[in-house]
């Protein structure tokens, strides 16, 4: 049984001590524990206590930097992080319900490795895995791999069509990557393992499939070494800010995270993603659009504003974000979420300004408020992440009906 629309879906984006650059200096921050299993299991357990749909875990293939193209060598922000996929795997046995969606950079990694890693995350979490695919445009990250010429993309200078070309290529490559991991997840039929003692056969090899992917950037033979995961297809998600990544969401993803600043923008973005979905021949599939919001929450709006102002003072600059920055009470945030939901959004990915404070404001303030309004679940019912989001377990593309 699924618990889906019209209840809204809530995810939180976990990233170090929180989104604000001075979050690690907040009173309850644990800046010396950011690399420990205990820290991450505490945060995910808190999110699970709040009955949230899933957590995403931020990652990159380079050290954090405030500059979009190079290392900033700042010493006043959090630097250093663990592999997000392994954090997700580490907390999976300690949780039972919450979805686990690590970030994976597709530009420099192998789809074969990531397909089996996410499939395995789905096994260790018994059906709660997803992945957020991320394109890397950073020259400094490219230099960590040395396998391809430095990317020439400047995300801040992509208004001209000539400047768009490398970006289009990177996202087309990402779409191929997602196609490969999806085929690999289907490369074993669910009943391929037969253990037939009479014939001595462990598998029915007619139910294992070469994927034979040939694309512009790479080819992959298959099948996967890992059997089809519990959900069949773990969730694929992506963050998108403009038309090129909207297209990736429309043609490849189950969930798109977008960054509108009001209802009108939200409607426009949802329309654009729907059009891309239809253009990609996926009109009949569910693509859920989640709006991202950076949140600073307290019992009064004044307290939240004052707390954010103190953090801004510590950081020496006003906090800026790609997403709408919300400062206020959980009830005010609930108002905004319900208003935005009418634009066709399935849910929200909230980025806590600080952890654990703003995370607890979500789980202990916002969630009860939404429950009072009948807008959020009061218990976990569906067993898998797909089920919780109202997505069916998909048929295997290679299985003969």
């Amino acid at each position: 049984m699924s618990d889906s629309f019209p209840l809204l879906h809530l995810a939180v984006a976990l990233d170090g001590a929180g989104r604000h650059p001075a979050a690690w200096r907040a009173p309850r921050a644990r800046p010396l524990e950011l690399l420990t299993a205990r820290y991450w299991s505490d945060l995910v357990a808190e999110a699970e206590r709040g009955l949230l749909d899933f957590v995403t875990i931020e990652d990159s293939l380079g050290l954090q930097s405030a500059s979009p193209v190079e290392q900033d060598r700042r010493t006043d922000h959090v630097r250093g992080r663990l592999d997000a996929l392994l954090i997700a795997a580490r907390v999976a046995p300690l949780t039972r319900h919450i979805g686990l969606v690590p970030t994976v950079v597709v530009t420099h990694t192998e789809p074969f490795h990531i397909a089996k890693a996410i499939a395995t995350l789905d096994y260790v979490s018994t059906g709660r895995a997803g992945v957020r695919v991320r394109v890397s445009t950073r020259p400094d990250e490219t230099a960590h791999f040395g396998r391809r010429p430095p990317a020439l993309v400047r995300l801040d200078e992509v208004s001209t069509s000539a400047a768009q070309r490398p970006l289009v290529d990177l996202f087309d490559e990402a779409a191929d990557y997602v196609e490969v991991i999806r085929r690999l997840w289907d490369s074993w039929e669910d009943d391929a393992e037969i253990r037939d003692v009479a014939t001595g056969r462990f598998v029915d090899r007619a139910k294992l499939h070469y994927i034979d992917f040939e694309g512009r950037w790479f080819s992959v033979k298959g099948p996967s070494i890992t059997p089809r995961p519990p959900q069949g297809q773990p969730l694929v998600s992506a963050l998108a800010h403009q038309s090129v990544p909207y297209r990736l969401v429309g043609r490849s993803a189950d969930i798109g995270y977008v960054t509108p600043h009001d209802t009108t923008q939200a409607e426009a973005v949802v329309d654009e993603i729907r059009a891309e979905q239809v253009a990609a021949g996926r009109g009949a599939e569910s693509v859920l659009v989640f709006a991202d919001l950076d949140v600073f929450l307290d019992d009064t709006a004044a307290a939240a504003a004052a707390r954010k102002a103190r953090l801004d003072d510590l950081a020496g600059a006003e906090y800026g974000s790609d997403a709408r920055v919300f400062t206020g009470t959980p009830a005010e945030l609930a108002d905004l979420l319900q208003e935005w939901q009418s634009a066709g959004l399935a849910g929200f990915r909230l980025r806590p300004g600080t952890v654990p404070h703003d995370l607890e404001q979500i789980t202990r303030g916002l969630v009860p408020e939404l429950q009072r309004r009948g807008a959020f679940r009061t218990e976990y019912r569906a067993e898998t992440l797909r089920g919780r989001l109202g997505l069916p377990r998909p048929a295997n593309r290679y299985a003969v009906a």
Binding site: V78, F202, V220, I225
Partner: protein, 458 residues
């Protein structure tokens, strides 16, 4: 004056995808579900083992152009399982094979450093380098290595990851909230590495982990493999579990250490070993024979023969005599994705030996294959097996063993419950863990950080 007895090291290999694993056993469970891995790991930890080991294969094996279906097929991702196992164990080392051909140093270093943090210092890496284009077809980088470049790449890969691990010294994160200083060094994590295989520079994302670097395991047996181990590994996963072969290998490899400025204790020799336990030695022998019959079915015997003969022998009767025809010389075209076929260096000579053996003992194909492959290392009552293991270790045929049970996931249970206490009683095996990290379990010192000596001397 006699020296105190050596302390035995034990590790556990999760049952793999060759015919050692008896999937047809009524007790056999899943090879994929996490509950099997958790059971196996908890058993090993109950037995105070040094580590659990996961093998890896990056393409499903094929024979005669078809996916090989007689053995266990499929396995989960190594890193993901090890990270999850860190949640259900507290002391057990978590090690696995990660290929250096189809990965990049930056990514592998990130994963091992992360695993080491998430397990509080229990990560270990068996470095392998594969050379086959067959596996390469699953990877975007495709391609493969010339066989003679395997160890060069492995060595360069390992050196590059060491520079990445060492790019953080361990004291950079100060997190002084009042002063607003998170990082004590603005250049923390900076690295640069250039050689024939890798041309990389930048900053590493993972601050120094509890062990500094993961423990390095090595499994190669060739001249180059032994030299690589002597120069770079902390432990060898060897194939020589008998007294004579074990002693020769042990002396050979330990003898190479001085050349690299390393001492006798800095490299452990841990042969893979299978075992069958019974209430009595006689019962164990009977059980061992039953296990061998289950491991080598008629179909499996023919497949094994094809791997040496390098041709289709599906028309032969496994209960009949060996083929009259000779093996096909040259590159093995029958079996793909299987490292062991490379060990058949002179198929014609081996075929002659096998024919002679079959003639002398009047063996069918299946009986012959049972005779020449994979006999169990230790067979007997718990007391007998405990004595065999201890004798081999005290005689310097090994420093301990990596046990490979034949049933998933319960195949280690009886060993831990019946043999381990006997070893503990003899005073040759730890009663409990004495430290937190895998490096500590193995009695290894902290690794020297690359460049540290230079800095200290300047």
């Amino acid at each position: 004056m006699s020296r105190p007895p050596k302390q035995i090291h034990l590790a556990a290999h999760f049952p793999g995808v060759n015919n050692t694993t008896v999937w047809s056993d009524p007790e056999a469970g899943s090879h994929i579900e996490f509950s099997s891995f958790a059971h196996f790991a908890r058993t090993a930890e109950r037995g105070k083992f040094d580590f659990l080991f996961l093998a890896e294969g990056l393409r499903l094996r094929e024979q005669n152009g078809q996916i090989y279906d007689l053995d266990v097929v499929g396995r989960p991702d190594t890193f993901t399982v090890l990270a999850a196992l860190a949640a259900v164990t507290e002391r057990l080392g978590l090690t696995g094979t990660i290929n250096s051909t189809f990965n990049e140093p930056y990514e592998v270093a990130r994963q091992f450093a992360s695993l080491d943090h998430l397990s509080d210092g229990r990560a270990g890496w068996n470095v392998v380098t594969s050379w086959d284009a067959f596996t390469g077809e699953n990877f975007r980088r495709g391609g493969f290595l010339a066989q003679e470049h395997r160890y060069r790449r492995a060595s360069n890969f390992l050196r590059a990851t060491w520079e990445l691990f060492d790019s953080w010294h361990g004291d950079e994160i100060v997190a002084d909230a009042a002063a607003g200083v998170f990082l004590g060094d603005p250049e923390a994590g900076s690295f640069e590495h250039h050689d024939e295989d890798f041309d990389i520079a930048g900053r590493f994302t993972v601050p120094r982990s509890p062990q500094g670097r993961p423990v390095i395991l090595q499994a190669g047996d060739s001249e180059e493999g032994r030299e690589f181990a002597a120069s770079s590994a902390d432990a060898i996963f060897s194939r020589h579990s008998t007294l004579t072969a074990g002693q020769a290998f042990y002396a050979d490899v330990k003898g190479r250490l001085a050349r690299y400025g390393r001492t006798h204790d800095e490299l452990l020799i841990l042969p893979a070993a299978t075992f069958v336990l019974g209430d009595t030695d006689a019962q164990a022998q009977e059980l061992a024979h039953e296990v061998r019959l289950a491991q080598v079915s008629g179909q499996t015997a023919i497949k094994f023969l094809e791997q040496l003969w390098n041709r289709d022998l599906s028309g032969y009767d496994p209960d009949g005599p060996l083929p009259e025809i000779d093996p096909v010389a040259g590159e093995n075209a029958v079996s793909r994705g299987r490292a062991s076929v490379r060990y058949h260096k002179d198929p014609l000579a081996i075929a002659r030996e096998w024919r002679d053996l079959a003639a002398a003992k009047n063996l069918s194909i299946r009986e012959l294959i049972i005779e020449v492959t994979g006999r169990q290392s230790f067979v007997g009552s718990p007391a007998t097996v405990a004595r065999q293991i201890n004798d081999l270790v005290q005689a310097d045929a090994a420093d301990g063993f990596i046990l490979v049970p034949h049933v998933t996931p319960g195949g280690l249970d009886r060993f831990v419950d019946a043999v381990v206490p006997l070893l503990q009683e003899r005073g040759v095996y730890r009663a409990d863990y004495t430290g937190p990290t895998l490096r500590h379990h193995l009695g290894l010192a902290e690794p020297r950080r690359a460049g540290a000596a230079k800095e200290a001397g300047s």
